[in-house]
């Protein structure tokens, strides 16, 4: 039989559950802080070495003053979670997103415009490398501040190079010289299977931006343009690798590649003689194949077009303040602290990256754990440094173009047909995006 005591107990249990649900994480966090400090929640994507480097910065900020306490929280799927939390009215105060999300998030009204804060703090355009500043802004507004950035260059395994390619000075400078290099260095076994590839353009960082190498783009005058003549030329060049090595041979070869961050990474295991990646890759060499003798060179430029020299793909980790953040002023205090030259250099050293700041100390460059950091730094300053296209359907473009190149590399469609198909679909996507998102 159920007694009145049981009734009361059940009522209490339900009330207690309700109360627990009502107690916000923020107030709990404040209690834990054991002081009157304002707690700034900071969501970040990193773990491992990168997280440790950022945590040192956070600790440094927390120790530098007594009013604010930044709480670092490592979050997987950070973009999706930030978006949903913003939608639910409970976003973090600071979100460590990638710069290629600036446009999509800004279009969705998910971000705080930081122009006012930046001007007050003196964090203006000339404080940053122009290409990175460009990544942080959209339609005249400033939506992000940088943390660690990257640029792409070629890592070369010296042990796999014939004498003529043993140094950065003698490594190919133009595409036609690079073609000769690919022929000389790539090796097949007697049964026709691949033993070593001199280079595979779709491996590593920046494998989706090849039209930019040849002076192309993915947009033209407010429309998507992935099948222009230059795009076609670029992807035909990429496809020439699969044709040269053989469709099935390339498939079989690539199926033996291990994870990026493992000793079985194709460059670290000696399957690829050269590999395009960012400055952070030297950390993986240090961890998984420390005996590899390597050097770094910028990517060669198209013959007869020296104006296209200095091509590199940009990448930028950022700090954004989502719309509706509870403590935007305090959040910006932390963001401003990270922008100090000595703090930024400490962070970028810890993450094996170059600095996004225009001014870089000689100490940073000379003591950096990546011995080729000067090349990455110079490339970031190149006018040919390209970042993600500034349209809100960048993820669709990456996915659709990636699929088109897959299809051509598998000989399912010609490069032209594959790109035309991608163009058709992306044009429709762009029209819908303009109607559904941009038309406010």
């Amino acid at each position: 039989m159920i007694t009145p005591v049981a009734t009361r107990l059940a009522t209490l249990a339900v009330l207690a559950a309700g109360c627990l649900a009502l107690i916000g994480s923020e107030s709990a966090a404040n209690r834990q802080a054991g002081s009157k400090r304002i707690v700034v929640t900071y969501w970040e994507k990193w773990n491992g070495d990168e997280m440790q480097a950022m945590k040192k910065v956070v600790d440094g900020f927390n120790a530098s003053q007594s009013k604010i306490e930044v709480r670092y929280l490592s979050i997987s799927g950070i973009a999706e979670k930030t978006l949903l939390a913003t939608s639910g009215g409970n976003p973090p105060d600071v979100a460590g997103l990638w710069s290629d999300q600036v446009v999509q998030f800004a279009d969705a009204d998910a971000l705080t415009d930081l122009n006012g804060y930046a001007q007050k703090a003196g964090l203006t355009k000339d404080y940053y490398i122009p290409a990175y500043w460009n990544e942080m802004t959209y339609k005249g507004k400033l939506y992000a501040f940088p943390t660690s950035p990257g640029t792409s260059a070629i890592y070369v395994n010296r042990a796999l190079m014939p004498p003529e390619y043993q140094t950065a000075e003698t490594f190919p400078k133009t595409i036609s010289e690079f073609e000769t290099y690919v022929k000389k260095v790539s090796k097949k076994r007697s049964d026709g299977s691949m033993e070593t590839a001199a280079f595979l353009p779709r491996e590593g960082f920046g494998g989706g931006s090849w039209p930019f190498l040849f002076g192309g783009s993915y947009t033209r005058e407010n429309r998507i343009d992935v099948n222009s003549e230059i795009d076609l030329k670029a992807w035909e060049w990429v496809h020439s690798f699969a044709k040269r090595f053989g469709v099935h041979e390339t498939q079989a070869f690539r199926s033996g590649f291990g994870n990026y961050s493992s000793p079985q990474n194709p460059f670290l295991s000696g399957k690829l003689a050269a590999f395009m990646d960012g400055p952070w890759f030297s950390n993986y060499i240090r961890l998984y194949s420390p005996k590899t003798d390597w050097f770094v060179v910028p990517f060669p430029y198209p013959d007869g077009q020296p104006e296209l020299k200095g091509y590199t793909v940009l990448n930028l980790n950022t700090l954004m303040i989502p719309r509706g953040a509870k403590h935007p002023d305090e959040a910006f205090e932390f963001v401003r602290y990270v922008q100090k030259q000595e703090v930024m250099e400490k962070l970028c050293t810890g993450q094996f990256c170059n600095s996004p700041l225009a001014k870089v100390s000689e100490k940073f460059l000379s003591e950096h754990p990546n011995k080729a950091i000067r090349i990455f730094d110079q490339l970031a300053r190149s006018p040919r440094a390209v970042g993600p296209v500034k349209v809100g359907i960048w993820s669709q473009i990456s996915q659709e173009v990636g699929n088109a190149v897959d299809v051509m590399d598998l000989d399912q469609l010609s490069p032209k047909a594959a790109l035309d198909k991608a163009q058709l679909r992306l044009s429709e996507e762009w029209t819908k995006y303009q109607e559904q998102v941009l038309a406010k």
Partner: protein, 303 residues
Amino acid sequence: MDEVSGAGPRQMNSRRDQRVGILFALPWILGFTIFLAYPLLSSLYYSFTNFSILRSPRWIGLSNYKELMSDEVFHLSLKNTLTFAAASVPLATICAILLAMLLNTKSKGMAFYRTIFYIPSLVPMVALGVLWLWIFNGHYGLLNEGLSRIGLPTPPWLTDPAWSKWTLVIISIWGTGNAMVIYLAGLQDVPQSLYEAADIDGARAWGKTRHVTIPMISPVILFNVVMGIIGSLQTFALPYVMFPGGQPARSAYFFSMYLYDTAFQFQRMGYASAMGWVMFGITLGLTLLALKLSAKHVHYEGG
């Protein structure tokens, strides 16, 4: 007093019991309403809207559903998912039944084997994906190493569109532990007297399996097949980890991956909701079909 109020002590007790019952059930009722019923009904509403998470949804009628009809990637992802389901459900069912029959024998150390065969279904999907990436690696993988030793061809499982879905079908057998346990319970429920009667009639092992075991566990088979259909149509974590973007050439791009990308990468919640409801319709249709087709072959005890 009781007579005046019209409510006897029995009635009062009954009402109080009812209130207490509801109070005890309230956590579940609240959970169901907030976390299941509300999102479910919301998604139905959103499927008729243009909704990009941070803006208010705008009613667009059947536009999302009409767009789905001409969406090539939607059709491809659906085809991939149905192909996977058609191959993995029968294969996993046969494997689970065979395993359960093996584990139903009275041999020494059977509890140990049952545990061993069940353990794989406890491994988280993402960890499993990483593990299988190694097993199917064309160069370092255990599978190709084994195949080459017995002189069989070693396909590039992860990079050839002809093999990518089959890779996932093979992996689906790994997770048969759950179904196996249910089959095992079903097998242990088959009355021994039926086997004894079959023995007297001179039935052999296959005859007993076909005419006694299978009919007696047919409701369990139906249950597992229906659950298998539902589960395989929702496959997400493994292909998402093993074949990012469904590569190569979207050969492993499953329906749930497209739905996830549409909702969270492309921020088209309305369109993704419509996809979800189409999948719900397909799952419901296939489940009803399975129930209808099996009506004559499923035997319920006492039914």
